[in-house]
Symmetry: none
Subunit: 123 residues, 4 copies
């Protein structure tokens, strides 16, 4: 469920954290379900447990997971986080589009991208 890109400039622990963020925000990992243990995930990905630990710390700090002493980490309720994430993503989109516009990209070109995107699965 977690894949790693060793070419990426992003550090491993951020890649792992981001991947889990997506899975949690999309509801693939439901609230209160148990996260894989630090060690089992480390084994599975052939990565040092410390690195997984760091990813989990980040997720906890951001409110995606919560620890239960001696039992492991669990998925937090992410409804609030999802709202925030959506807002910040739209803001990012706005900036990127504005930058493109300054470089001469036309309105239609953006519209096309959107139409293609949402045409894909009949949504």
């Amino acid at each position: 469920m977690i894949s790693i890109d060793y070419q990426s400039k992003l550090p491993l622990y951020e890649q792992i954290a981001q991947r889990f963020q997506t899975l949690i925000l999309r509801g693939v990992l439901p609230a209160d379900s148990q996260m894989p243990s630090v060690r089992s995930l480390a084994m599975e990905l052939s990565i040092n447990p410390n690195t997984i630990q760091k990813a989990y710390s980040l997720l906890e700090q951001q409110g995606y997971i919560y620890p239960v002493k001696g039992r492991g980490n669990f998925v937090a309720d992410s409804t609030a986080l999802a709202r925030e994430k959506k807002t910040s993503l739209l803001k990012e989109v706005r900036h990127l589009l504005a930058y493109g516009r300054e470089l001469g990209i036309q309105k239609d070109e953006y519209i096309n991208v959107i139409e293609q995107l949402y045409a894909k699965e009949g949504l």
Copy 2:
């Protein structure tokens, strides 16, 4: 003309290079005009000359500027680069929008962003 964000995760030399890329692509710095000298820009920004040098090397490597021995660096013709940049930016947009879609952002929300953006200056 060049501003620096010390909070940014981007290294200084990339910030500087990006800023010049934009200025060149938008035509603010026309082809064959002279770039500020490494030293003068370093002074102006209170930054290590090595950092400016690295930014210029990057720009040269990407084809945005060309060096003239003993005279400094000059802006290259960027018409070809502009096309490439536009393409890569649209690709980036596509990815970002697709990611947002997976998190539940609706088509309309994107359309709205675009409408607002292009309404701004009557374009």
Copy 3:
């Protein structure tokens, strides 16, 4: 009667022990009354019996309870303990206040806290 805070940094067994200490020191649990059995309390709190056992061991070691073979654990006489506890708590208060003073908290601010506290129930 025993509540647990899973967000707390304190381990469960210490939380449980502390809670009982308070109940005993305040006289809610009188001397020689029987403590809930390890199993029943574990059931009630949905907690591992080992954890309750550890809390009880701590309480026994501190002199708050005593075990009777085959019959369970009982509340000890806590008059001596109460005196000690009061002393150690005042010491703790002294440290905390001193630290606050170093950070610039004024005498009056502390006095206010005390006045409010003891005004509450006319004591």
Copy 4:
């Protein structure tokens, strides 16, 4: 300037972070002054650089210090933090005092502690 208590239950990185918090809040380390480098402090305290790193990360996350790429960490402006810290400390005091009151500590005993504390240096 930084001392470590190996008997303490607090992990080293928290001890170090707390110590710096105090020094910063008290103004001993003024805003924008440079923090000791991770490595030099590690050497000085005979502690692993990773542990210092972790302490600094915590301080950064809490807003006590800010990093400047390639140059090191610097003390942030702590006026806002000082206010928050004072508030949270007073809250802590309130809880501790209330707990003591429930165990039978009298108003006068608290007042005495305060008087002694502020008598010390004629404040």
